[in-house]
Amino acid sequence: MTVMRDKVVKALVELNIRGDENGLMPGYNVLVNFLPTTFWNLFTERLINAAPADKKEEVLTGLYKAAQECGYHTGYGIINSDEFKSVVMPMVTEGAKDVLRGAYAVFTAWGWAKSGIVQIKEGERMVVRATDYYEQHIKTGGKSSFMFSAVSGAFFDLAYGPEYPNGLGTFIGDQTKGIEAGDEFGEVLVRKK
């Protein structure tokens, strides 16, 4: 057996999401929020569209780094959570590769992207595809899926980089296709930095 995404997603999808008595949602070693995707998309879209040429790189790098760090720390919290241990780990038969598959199932369950690994050379490169992801609605005229690409790099950091918390940025995710750019699906290539 290997990790079956759809089974994991349905087991992990948290339909009883709501803040505690303090209005906070602690979980996976982080504080979680649950917001309309339009907030994150509008911010990204307006920021990119507002940036003059000399600021564009700073904006794009900033958006990538925010998503990368989020994916690294939250990803670590996810794969070490009780939920992950009880739902995903019993299906893990192929080591780090299966842990990665499980991480993508959680990525999907959180509403980030209906995604999965289509190709992997362990410790070296990976191709991930998504047929639906919330960033596909960003309108900048180009590929703008920072969460999808940066979190993919961060998950690979966790699987094959130096031990947490020293592995951040070992790998990077390059978005090669995007629904928001007119492609049929989103695709990210993860490779060594």
């Binding site: 999808v13 303090n22 917001l35 309309p36 339009t38 911010f43 639906d132 919330y134």
Partner: protein, 171 residues
Amino acid sequence: MSIPFEVKFDDTTFSQKAYGQDMVMHCHHYMSLVTALSDQLESINAVKILRESAEDSIRTFLDAYFTQNNINSSTEKLATAKELYSVLGLGKFEVSGNDAGGEIQMKRSHVDEGWVQKFGKSSKFINHFSCGFAAAMFAAAFGKSARSYNAFETASIAMGDSEGKIVVKAN
């Protein structure tokens, strides 16, 4: 007060929806880094972009929630928005005011407490998201258009105050 909050999972797209809006979970790292990025990019009005993105997205969400739950009076709308803030994991506040504006006393805050966890105490106000939320909440409650209210912080949990405070004024 406990309010209903229903999230539906779409079996086709695997997305989560609440009151017709696509929803997503994110962590305090991302919120803090996006907030820090907006401060860093002040030369292109990024803080304003963050506030207005919060105002516009939350306004759509609040309007949908109010319509689908038959919440009609301004008082009910303010009280419900306050509860929704907590349901969404954003913290806890008390609100008072009328169509000319009002005040929010922030008891707990995802943005502020997340910032302190990530970066330590802040030297300036950073809860731009909640200022956008406040502007949306007052505009939705009193039937006004976007940018009808200006919301700004005068006390901040991130800066070390025991409670945060957001003042809301009609433009």
